[in-house]
Assembly symmetry: D2
Homo-oligomer: 132 residues x 4
């Protein structure tokens, strides 16, 4: 399972003194893109070649807030359903391994702007796909 | 129903040339806070008085991307389930009223850090609550 | 003189309870792009045509912080120095017209990646250029 | 000299395909806060104790843009002028050590909302202060 450790940056906290929720979506995206990269797929190059991976649906459960100074681990697992890649992602606080966010991110590929299967990505993730 | 019209800012678009997904979460949050304000509730003052409204769960379906120059309308409806306030929010592109994002945002109140009902918010939103 | 009125969004405030400094840079950029648009120039279209307006140098003096709920006015003036467009921008708090930020933003054009004069922009801003 | 190595996250790039300028201000802030932390000073705790370090003036020269996948090094040096702490910060692209941004950040302390000297910070940074 792919994991990425990062640290909260103070500007990501809002006036409640905790990480603003939208930033967890950034954390998840960055972890997915690093996961892609670790499998040899560059998100920007993909875009320049006419293939855009886009999020179709997102569910996030917020369990424990992160705050200034916290380090966190973001996990990435993936399974395939039709033409969708379903990413299962968790964020854990590193100090006590408490669950911060649990997310499901359904993504699809737009090839030259049209919804399409991507044989290249299928091949790339072959070894990663989990059973349902 | 409460609605707020805003315009995409170019820095909200990412290297795909469309609004980065996390920004829709910002749009939804801003519309909710403006909704609160229109009902006489100030999110920051609430925080300073020891009551923090926090998101417990979020579901977003991404239908049509916004891009540079687009104006959008963000709607806010609310219903009550136990101690949760469930916000039903849509974002529409103003030019053709196409659905951009459909979201469900479950929020709860932390009073001095503990999950609690907020009789004040219940009273404030009384006229807004929708039946399931 | 071009001016744009906007309102602080709560997520733009950080753990100090005031607008995070980097957001003022966003406010300035958005006002410049709206200024361009009001003169018939679309920043995104410009990029797609191979001309990128980029910031070469920025000076910001932070005078009064904005916070949750504040409305602000952002002004845009421009003068020309060689191939540089120098934007003089102020942000004022609307409630008392207090100065929030005073900025000078030196921008240049990259045409197909190379520093170059832009006769089109010169023509567009002709009536706006101020004397030094 | 304090340095911090980080990596560009794709959402930090805008529709020009390069890091949006405001994010460099975030990079600089994060490096300063990590510098503080390395000297035993916690920015959030400082705020909670009534002392807010705030930026009074910022100058940034943008030399080379960062883009998706780039790693960068952010440096922090500091000198004292009256009650101001002047941070001299550079951002370098790691791959070729090219200068990305050169910045000067003048900060002051607000103690309980009023401009004031901070003997604690003076003591903390004593060994770091550079001559002009």
């Amino acid at each position: 399972m792919f994991t990425l450790v990062q640290k909260v940056r103070d500007y990501e906290c809002d006036l409640q003194g905790i990480v603003n929720n939208a930033n967890y979506q950034h954390y998840l995206e960055h972890a997915r893109h690093e996961f892609l990269l670790s499998r040899g797929v560059n998100f920007k190059a993909l875009h320049e070649q006419g293939t855009d991976a886009v999020v179709a649906r997102l569910t996030m459960a917020f369990k424990t807030p992160l705050t200034s100074g916290d380090e966190y681990e973001c996990t990435v697992r993936v399974r395939k359903e039709g033409i969708k890649y379903i990413f299962l992602q968790d964020i854990f606080r590193l100090s006590d391994h408490k669950l911060v966010v649990r997310a499901t991110v359904d993504t699809v590929c737009l090839v030259n702007g049209r919804l399409a299967a991507s044989p290249d990505l299928d091949e790339t993730f072959k070894a990663d796909f989990e059973a349902e």
